[in-house]
Each structure stands twice: as structure tokens, then as C-alpha cells.
């Protein structure tokens, strides 16, 4: 079963994402911020989650910073960044080889499921 790690500082959004993803047949792991994302990734036995779905702005450590650190550690898991709007990206401006795609809020779930399916399809 495809495993998705989702991170958002809003419990409501986490609940929404978890419910919709589980209805689609995904297994879901949650994290409340970037620090928890790193904890989960370091704790999980290899190969870990199949895809990361990280909120761009979170307290303690943002999704972008967490992803950057994971990439520096050699983690290549595909990652989607969820952002409120493009302006948030302008400051951090992650590069394309770090991020697999962007999802904007409010979330278009059809698009989200299509992106996840495309990124986790067996090669």
C-alpha cells in the first residue's frame, strides 16, 4: 500500500487530508511541523513513506526547510509542497529538483490525487 507522510500545523487540515487520502486507499502518517517530519523520516525503516505532502509554512520548521534538509541527507522521496499562495514561495524559492510539485489551498483533491498517483507510479 502506498504510504503518504502529511505535515500541517492545522489539525483540521490534517484530519481532512487523512480522511480523503484514506478513502482513496492510501496509508497515512501525520506530522505537525518540519521537526516531526524529520523525526518520522529518521525513525522509519527504509524505504520509508512513498511520498511527502508538506505544508510550506509551519512553526518550528517549515515544510520547505525540512525538505531541504532531507535532500541534503540524500533522501529522494518525491515531495509535494502545499502553500496558501505563490507569494509564500517567492521568499524560500525551492528549486525544481527539490520539489516535485505544488498544491495550493484550498486543495483541489482531484489534482492532488492525480499528482500523487503520477509520482508514486512504479517505474
Amino acid at each position: 500500500m502506498t504510504r503518504v507522510l502529511i505535515a500541517d500545523d492545522s489539525e483540521t487540515i490534517l484530519l481532512l487530508l487523512r480522511t480523503r487520502l484514506e478513502m482513496e486507499g492510501y496509508e497515512v502518517i501525520t506530522a505537525a511541523d518540519g521537526v516531526e517530519v524529520l523525526e518520522v523520516m529518521h525513525r522509519e525503516p527504509s524505504p520509508g513513506p512513498d511520498i511527502l505532502l508538506l505544508d510550506a509554512m509551519m512553526p518550528r520548521k517549515s515544510g520547505i526547510d525540512a525538505l531541504r534538509q532531507l535532500r541534503a541527507e540524500g533522501v529522494e522521496t518525491p515531495a509535494l509542497i502545499v502553500s496558501a499562495h505563490q507569494d509564500e514561495m517567492d521568499a524560500g524559492a525551492p528549486t525544481d529538483n527539490e520539489v516535485s510539485g505544488y498544491i495550493t489551498k484550498p486543495i483541489d483533491f482531484d489534482r492532488l490525487f492525480a499528482s500523487i498517483a503520477a509520482l508514486t507510479a512504479p517505474a
Binding site: 492545522s10 481532512l16 507569494d87 509564500e88 484550498p106 486543495i107
Partner: protein, 401 residues
């Protein structure tokens, strides 16, 4: 303290008059005295000559008398020569004084004009720069007190303008920041509301029809709020000069087909015919694909929402010289002249005319105009009441950029 123009003129004229008058009075008085002396001497000489002539007539010492007569005649000739010389000298003196005075006055005037001209020229140049938006421009204060006062007043005015512009910029920046922050903060709760309402709709069959309608209303309004939020954000970016585009060579046909596809379900639900006519072999355009798609969807949404059921909407794309022209045409109610004028302003909407619900934000065309202009293109509207509306977008072809 700079000398004033009036002071300089008064002093200059006073000196010139004093010099001129002095020269004239002294010269003329001296001349009159010499003239008097000359006449007296001449008269005396005649008396001496008359006495000599009497002696000659009496026959006494005729040789001496003749000599005396000749001597007097020579003396008077000498006096006449002298006075002629004096007349010439006096005329020269007065003339020279006159020329000197006039030259002095001319020099004084040219000096005054020069001392006014430089500061005035500088003021003219600075005014031009200020009008052109360079609020930091200032003039060097100096010269006559009048030009100095003018210069000071100009600098104060420029300073005030700059201060107010600074305050306005600060307020604008605060407003933009507020809109950006508000937009961000509103997005999370909206994501939840929309997401959970959608979740309910996934299990529609478990809801009563009334509950399903209720959720549908929540969803409709949430989507409207999201659109409004996106539009406000775009406008705030546009105002802040932060509305940016990422142009790339784009196939117009694919872009238009994509936008039309997006609209298809809505127009079909309203029984409207949506046709597209794309000229084959169009050049590529250098545009931000998402943004031009946004413009097209906005134009199509307007055509859809303002036209009655069963109306027909047509999208046409043709090449016009170095430009690619896209038109969205409908046979809806159209607009009157006075509406058409303001159609690209914010929160302006056409009279729906019909009783149908119009779901737009009133910002779409204002944003579309900003976006098209960012691409170096133009957007215009034409309409006749009762005969539909036409919106025309022209974008430069990629090769022309």
C-alpha cells in the same frame, strides 16, 4: 542675505544719474563761465580798438594806433580760437559722460539679467524634473533675494511633496501587506470548510435532499469566497507592482482549447453553445500560460454568466500581423455605452439585465487588463445592447518580442 532686484536697480540708477548729472552740470557751468569770459574779453578788445581808431582819426601817433588795432584784432582771433576749443572740449566731455552712463546702465542691466537668468533656468529645469516624478530634486538657492525666495519656496514644496509621497507609499505598503496576510490567514479555514463540505458531498446518497442542497450552497459560497480572495490578492500584487508573469513560448491553440474544455460543463448545463475557431499554423506566443488561461476563462465565464440559456458563445483566434488576436463573442444582452466605458474598472459589472445569478467578483476584468498589459498586449470590449458583447485580446507573437 541676498540683495533684492529693486535695491540693485535703485542703487544702480542713482549712481548712473549722479554721475551723468554731475558731469553735465560741471561741464556746462564751466563752459558758460568761459563763454562769459570770452564775451567780456571780446567787448574789452573792441573798446581798446575803438579808442585806437579815434586816435588814428585825430592823426595822433598813426603808426602806434594801427599797430594797436591789428593787435586787438589778433587778440580777438585768439579768443575765438580758444572758445571754439572750449566748446569742442565741453561737447566731448558731455558726450563722453553720456556714453559712459549709458554703457554703465547697459552693463548693470545685463548683470542683473544674468543674475536672474541662472536661478530661473535652474527653477524651470527642476520644475520639469519634479513634474516628471523626481521628488528628490532641489534647486541651489542664491542670486537676488527674489530668486532666492522663489528657490526656497520651490524646495519647501518639493520637500512637502516628497514627504506626502513617502507617507502614501507607506500606507500603500501596509494595505498590500494586510491584503496578503489576510488572504493567507483566510485560506486555511476556507480549505477546511470547502474540504469538509466536499467530503459530505462524497456521501451525498446518505444525506436528505435538503441536507444535500444545504451543503451545495456552502460549497458554492466557499468557491465564491476563494475566487474573491484570489482576485483581491492579484489586485494587491498588481498595485504593489508584484504581479509578475513567467512567460514561456506557448502554443495558443492548446491554451485556448484547454480554457474552453474547462468551461464546457458549465455552458452545457446552461444549454449554451460554446464554439471555438482557431486559425491553423498560428505562431507561438511568449506568455505565462496560467495567467493567459486565467484571462480567457474569465472572459468565457463572463460570456456564460451574462448570457441567457441557449445563447451561443464563440472563441476565435487569428493572426494579425505580428500579433495573435483572441476574441470571445456572445449573443447575450450586451452593454450600453456608459457601461462599456467602465467595464475594466474594479467592482464594475454589467447589468445582468436578466434575473439570473451572476457569480463573478467584479474584479475579473480589472485583473485581466493588468495581466494582458503585463504581457505587452491589449484588451478591449465592444458591445451593442441587445446584440451581445465582444472582448478582444491581442498578444505579441513570440518572434516579435
Amino acid at each position: 542675505m541676498s540683495p533684492s532686484l529693486a535695491n540693485r536697480l535703485t542703487i544702480g540708477f542713482a549712481i548712473a544719474f549722479a554721475v551723468l548729472t554731475g558731469l553735465a552740470v560741471v561741464g556746462v557751468a564751466r563752459f558758460l563761465q568761459q563763454r562769459q569770459d570770452f564775451e567780456d574779453a571780446t567787448a574789452r578788445s573792441y573798446q581798446v580798438e575803438i579808442a585806437a581808431r579815434n586816435r588814428l582819426a585825430n592823426g595822433a601817433q598813426p603808426e602806434a594806433a594801427r599797430e594797436a588795432i591789428l593787435a586787438q584784432q589778433r587778440a580777438r582771433q585768439g579768443l575765438r580760437d580758444d572758445i571754439d576749443g572750449e566748446t569742442r572740449d565741453t561737447a566731448l566731455l558731455v558726450g563722453a559722460g553720456l556714453i559712459a552712463g549709458l554703457t554703465g546702465a547697459a552693463l548693470l542691466f545685463s548683470g542683473l539679467i544674468a543674475s536672474m537668468r541662472r536661478p530661473l533656468e535652474e527653477l524651470v529645469e527642476a520644475s520639469g524634473r519634479l513634474a516628471g516624478g523626481d521628488l528628490e530634486t532641489r534647486v541651489k538657492v542664491g542670486g537676488l533675494s527674489e530668486t532666492a525666495t522663489l528657490g526656497n519656496a520651490f524646495n519647501e514644496m518639493a520637500g512637502e511633496l516628497q514627504r506626502r509621497a513617502g507617507e502614501r507609499d507607506q500606507l500603500e505598503a501596509m494595505k498590500d501587506e494586510f491584503v496578503l496576510t489576510a488572504s493567507h490567514e483566510l485560506r486555511s479555514p476556507l480549505t477546511s470548510v470547502q474540504g469538509f463540505a466536499e467530503l459530505l458531498m462524497l456521501e451525498r446518497d446518505k444525506l436528505t435532499p435538503q441536507q444535500a442542497d444545504t451543503v451545495e450552497i456552502i460549497l458554492d459560497n466557499t468557491r465564491h469566497l476563494v475566487r474573491l480572495l484570489n482576485d483581491l490578492l492579484d489586485l494587491a500584487r498588481s498595485d504593489a507592482g508584484r504581479l509578475t508573469i513567467k512567460p514561456a513560448a506557448t502554443d495558443v491553440a492548446a491554451l485556448v482549447e484547454d480554457a474552453v474544455r474547462t468551461m464546457r460543463s458549465q455552458t452545457e448545463a446552461a444549454g449554451q453553445a460554446l464554439r471555438q475557431e482557431i486559425e491553423p499554423g498560428l505562431p507561438q506566443v511568449s506568455v505565462d500560460r496560467d495567467r493567459i488561461r486565467q484571462v480567457l476563462v474569465n472572459l468565457l465565464t463572463n460570456a456564460h454568466e451574462y448570457s441567457p440559456e441557449g445563447a451561443s458563445i464563440e472563441v476565435k483566434v487569428v493572426r494579425r500581423g505580428t500579433e495573435v488576436e483572441m476574441t470571445v463573442n456572445d449573443d447575450g444582452p450586451g452593454m450600453a455605452e456608459d457601461q462599456l466605458e467602465h467595464i475594466f474598472e474594479r467592482f464594475t459589472r454589467g447589468d445582468a439585465g436578466l434575473t439570473q445569478h451572476v457569480g463573478g467578483t467584479g474584479l475579473g476584468l480589472a485583473i485581466s487588463k493588468s495581466l494582458v498589459e503585463l504581457h505587452g498586449g491589449t484588451i478591449e470590449a465592444a458591445s451593442t445592447p441587445g446584440q451581445g458583447s465582444t472582448f478582444r485580446v491581442q498578444l505579441p507573437a513570440a518572434s516579435a518580442q
